[in-house]
Amino acid sequence: MIPASFDYESPKTLNEAITLLASREDAKLLAGGHSLLPAMKLRLASPALLIDLGRIGGLDYIRDSGETISIGALATHAAVAASRLLLASSPLLAQAACNIGDIQVRNRGTIGGSLAQAHPSADYPAAILALDANIVATSQSGERVIPAHSFFTGMFTTALRPDEIITEIRVPKTAGSGTVYKKFHHPASGYAVVGVAAVVRGATGKIDDVAIGITGVAEVAYRATAVEDALRGKPASAIAEAAKHAADKVEALGDNYASGDYRRHLAQVYTRRALQEALSSKRK
């Protein structure tokens, strides 16, 4: 339970951090530390340099940018969960954030750190996908905007380049839509055995548009496009049938707690429930 020895830097500015990251191949970024530090203690990760982003000021904002809301990468899960701005105009991310881990994890963990970690059972990816959010990565060559659908590339892997740092997440406002995040918690770890994020736009029982992000089932969170296609322009009564396609063409993971088949089944049930709830929450 003792990590291998490593160098430690705590840059005060983003530029310093970017420069440091570019200067060393074996460096890792430290934000909330909830995934990296346990991995280091178990010696699953042994970075030679830790770049602690915690001293960089001004990266934990959540602000209104017109069409979108911009969230600094160092905003904690607790801040995201409690943001009045998000709750008023784009609540899905906050709904997901309040389901993460426990109070301590939410107070320490950051949205940028969680997205970069890309844990297959993390909560944010489902919401980020369903929202078609954009992730801003910064390196010495400047900013790059990565759309959610091309950000998560595999288990613990993302489209980030080694020299890039996530600096901002931009989520669209969802006024006029119902949003819901439904989660089946692992009883011990609190990770999502299955997490379904749904954004539903529609009126009086008819669905105009729908987006569904699902985490926990496969190696990487995904959009349930088969369900979405089956529901656009359809009445609410189509939900039950459409939700059965929630895990189509997905290779589901199994573990000690839940088999792949069971996860697939849960994805269907939770997708249906999320959609029905999103639609009814919208009507309110």
Partner: protein, 876 residues
């Protein structure tokens, strides 16, 4: 708040009151010291090398590179202490460090003592061990069929112990029954998961001139300091008198610290080799390997009843997967049979118990030792019988109550029996009659009952000595010090001790200090397990305090010109009962005196000049009372001074041995089960079942427990609630999962015990049956409630959705599988071994994809590879 209307214990000053634990402040402020908080000069860190193989012969250990590493003081192996030991005299099959073979993944091979933890870990990697792999056994029913390569010599077919008991005539009973029900129940393996990981600090005295080692002091997280002292003496080959064991604060035991755990001896061996103190604290993973938890248990149960539900005969065949060492195994398997009795009136009982060895960490004692899994089976089967015969499960239990005082068919003596009250209370509170079966599909109520011993009437050390002895010393300023060997492990042992002493002496609780569990200072007590402390150490304390009271009374009587038997000890005073109609009632002068004491005396804390102040105070009080009239009372402190002036130092000793008629029968295995008294519990659980996902939500548990008398009601309620939580964990989510003998969930991120966060509402009810042998009528309250929770939930699930779950825990997958089987719906391909409707029942399967490691190698002749003995999947 529960129990507002509970009749309060009357006539007592200290007991029966809701009393904060005497160690609450140090624990909640963080001032208290647990073993890992301790440090002594020159202390080294010990780290243990564990076996990566489930069963292998050690061909060679080369520790030279580790030894040469800078900062390493000593590397020890089995050669350093080859004597075997074990908690039971009949089960000395463990080496602190493996000598010839390793028998489970995690078995102890070597220990490094180094300046820092990092160096010690680095050194472990330098130890080269050559193993020869042996076939390994993981499933008890397969292991029992083994013909060769046994795990221990002298244990053919890997059977540690088997017992076959017949009481009455079960076969005749079944023939006379109107209805016979038979089924197999499985409870999977669970562990204690105490918050504090095991920790031991061992330090030898060193002669500065000769360098020779002297006495050994061991601080350890233990429930059994005296057993530890004894086993250290055995393995280190030193006299017990040369060994002092001290138990600092312990952060939970639940049975996981109720026997000698390898690190406790390894630390001493390493300290001896290094000639420096060594501390070892287990990582959480090592705690899981040390284990000693509740074995996976297969119960084949058959019950015959009359049409009205009256039980005629019971037969049980129980197989326990005991892991690689004996541990408490024979006791566990005997409890499983013995405690079929002493709860209901069953005239005919047959029992076949098999404790089987497998290549996994040893199972041992865990809260509700031996009875929990069989109780799950029994109470579930009773519910199944009620469903078949359309009877009310509550009424059927009532029809089968014992009629104490009685001796059961298997020779267990039952004097106090609060089960009827318990059942009544939870049935009324849950509105059982109006609500069971009427909550609509998806929601239901279930009932379960249980019982437990208040200590074993026959100690495992097979000795006639009293099971507990307590000394009390009273200082001149009225401070009372109780010396007890009983181990406070969070259950309230020290508080109970202080309360009993204060009640008998009629003094303020704050006068009493408890010095506990230090083998140099405290008289022998065999430890905190089998819920024995209140009954045994409580009785010993009571007797020691009575002896002190006698001494004080004889001196005080002289001073007051009355007979000692006229004196009453109450409210920090000694009162002449003949003159004291007014003294016992809240007479005015009496109250005035109490007020004076409250405001001027200092019994609440030590005072540097306490003696001088006391003398001044005594003087002024005596002056005051001379003016007030006849001497009909003294303060406790005055009386103590009088007694010390008269007798010299005040000391008293009390001991307790269970009465002879509580010690059970004479047949083989009769020693386990008898107890001076049994506690009783009844519970009703209300659950709902999500039929789409299989999730079970427990909404409320009503739990009534007969603890004889509640010495500290808040503590009793805490124990009831804690037991229900632990039962909830085993019922719904806790399960150790294995792959090739490797534990797949050895951490609290994968293995979850419920905590207050996920607790349903639990309403505890205290039932007081006032046991004739218990101190003030008290009996056990820390374990008995657990066993009722699991069947109460199983039965509630049945009431909710009509499925019978015969395998615990009732995980969402298992519940869903049963629901699909009920509806003949398409089966899902669930986690291997989880689906209770699939024939392969043994859960031994691949781990999480993202935790997929290499795993240990298997021997080519391993039955799991060759398939000769069937796969590890079993084939019932």
């Amino acid at each position: 708040m529960a129990n507002e209307e509970r009749p309060t214990t009357t006539g007592f000053s200290v007991i029966g009151k809701r009393t904060a634990m005497v160690d609450a402040a140090e624990k909640t402020t963080g001032a208290g010291k647990y073993t890992d908080d301790l440090s002594v000069p020159g202390m080294l860190v010990g780290k243990i090398l564990h076996s990566p193989y489930p069963h292998a012969r050690i061909k060679r250990i080369d520790a030279s590179k580790a030894q040469a590493l800078e900062g390493v003081s000593a590397v020890v192996t089995g050669e350093d202490a080859p004597v075997t030991y074990g908690i039971l005299p009949i089960g000395h099959d463990e080496h602190a460090l493996a000598v010839d073979k390793v028998r489970y993944v995690g078995d102890n091979v070597a220990c490094v003592a180094a300046e820092t933890e990092a160096i010690a870990e680095q050194a472990l990697e330098l130890i080269d061990v050559e193993y020869e792999l042996l076939p390994a056994w993981f499933d008890p029913e397969q292991s029992m069929k083994a013909e060769a390569e046994f795990i221990h010599e002298g244990r053919p077919h890997n059977i540690e112990k088997e017992y076959h008991h017949v009481f009455g005539d079960p076969e005749k009973g079944f023939a006379e029954s109107d209805y016979v029900h038979e089924a197999r129940y499985i409870a999977n393996e669970v562990t204690h998961a105490a918050m504090e990981p095991h920790s031991t600090l061992a330090s030898f005295e060193l002669d500065p001139h000769t360098g020779k080692l002297g006495r050994l002091t061991v601080w350890s997280s233990t429930q059994v300091p005296y057993y530890l002292q004894h086993k250290l003496s055995l393995v280190l080959e030193m006299p017990m008198a040369q060994i002092r064991v001290i138990k600092p604060l312990v952060g939970g035991g639940f049975g996981g610290k109720s026997e000698v755990i390898p690190l406790e001896i390894i630390a001493a061996i390493a300290a001896r080799a290094a000639k420096r103190p060594v501390k070892i604290t287990y990582t959480r993973e090592e705690v899981f390997w040390a284990h000693r938890g509740r074995p996976r248990t297969i119960v084949d149960l058959k019950t015959g009843v009359k049409k009205d539900g009256r039980i005629v005969a019971v037969r049980a065949r129980v197989v326990q997967d005991g892991g690689a060492y004996c541990s408490y195994g024979p006791v566990t398997i005997l409890y499983s049979g013995a405690l079929l009795g002493a709860i209901y009136d069953i005239p005919n009982v047959g029992y076949d118990g098999y404790r089987v060895l497998t290549n996994k960490p040893a199972c041992g004692a865990m809260r509700g030792h031996g009875t929990v899994n069989v109780r799950f089976a029994f109470e579930s089967q009773l519910d199944e019988i009620c469903a078949a015969l359309k009877l009310d499960p509550k009424e059927v239990r009532q029809k089968n109550f014992l009629k104490p005082p009685c001796i059961t068919v298997n020779n267990l003596r039952v004097l106090s029996y609060g089960l009827p009250d318990c059942v009544q209370k939870v049935a009324a509170a849950s509105r059982w009659k109006e609500r069971r079966g009427k909550l609509g599909r998806g929601r239901g109520l279930g009932m379960g009952c249980s019982h437990y011993v208040s200590g074993a009437a026959n100690s495992i050390i097979r000795s006639d000595m009293p099971h507990s002895t307590v000394n009390i010393k009273v200082d001149r300023d009225g401070g009372v010090v109780v010396y007890t060997g009983a181990s406070e492990i969070g259950q309230g042992s020290d508080t109970m001790t202080a309360q009993v002493a204060a009640e008998v002496l009629g003094c303020a609780l704050s006068r009493v200090r408890v010095v506990a569990a230090d083998t140099d200072l405290t008289p022998i007590d065999i430890g905190s397990y089998s819920s024995r402390v209140t009954m045994m150490a409580g009785n010993a304390t009571l007797r020691a305090a009575e002896e002190i009271r006698k001494q004080i009374a004889s001196a005080a009587a002289r001073k007051m010109n009355c007979a000692p038997e006229d004196l009453v000890f109450r409210e920090d005073k000694v009162l002449n009962n003949n003159l004291g109609a007014r003294a016992l009632s809240p007479a005015k002068e009496h109250r005035n005196a109490a007020e004076i004491l409250e405001t001027t005396d200092a019994p609440r804390g030590p005072s540097v000049s306490g003696r001088v102040e006391g003398q001044i105070l005594r003087g002024s009080l005596q002056q005051k009372r001379k003016e007030e009239g006849p001497k009909d009372w003294m303060t406790f402190e005055e009386a103590v001074v009088a007694a010390i002036d008269f007798h010299g130092a005040l000391t008293g000793t009390g001991s307790y041995a269970p009465s002879l008629d509580a010690r059970g029968g004479k047949f083989k295995g009769a020693g386990v089960g008898p107890s001076p008294a049994y506690s009783y519990s009844a519970q009703v659980a209300e659950v709902s079942v999500d039929e789409e996902t299989g999730e079970v939500t427990v909404h409320k548990v009503w739990a009534a427990h007969d603890c004889g008398r509640a010495l500290n009601p808040v503590s009793v309620e805490g124990q009831i609630i804690g037991s229900v939580w632990m039962g909830l964990g085993q019922a719904l989510q806790e399960e150790m999962v294995w792959k090739d003998g490797m534990l797949m969930n050895p951490g609290l991120l994968e293995y979850r015990s419920p905590s207050s966060v996920e607790s349903p509402e639990i309403e505890p009810f205290i039932v007081e049956s006032i046991d004739p042998e218990g101190p003030f009528g008290a009996k056990e309250c820390s374990e008995g409630s657990l066993a009722a929770t699991i069947p109460a939930i199983a039965n509630a699930i049945y009431d909710a959705v009509g499925i019978r779950l015969r395998e615990a825990p009732f995980t969402p997958e298992r519940v869903l599988a049963a629901l699909r089987a009920q509806k003949n719906a398409k089966k899902l391909n669930l986690t291997e071994g989880v689906d209770p409707t699939s024939p392969a029942r043994f859960r031994e399967h691949g781990g999480a994809l993202w935790f997929r490691g290499k795993g240990p190698q298997r021997h080519p002749r391993d039955p799991a590879i060759t398939g000769q003995q069937g796969s590890a999947g079993g084939d019932d």
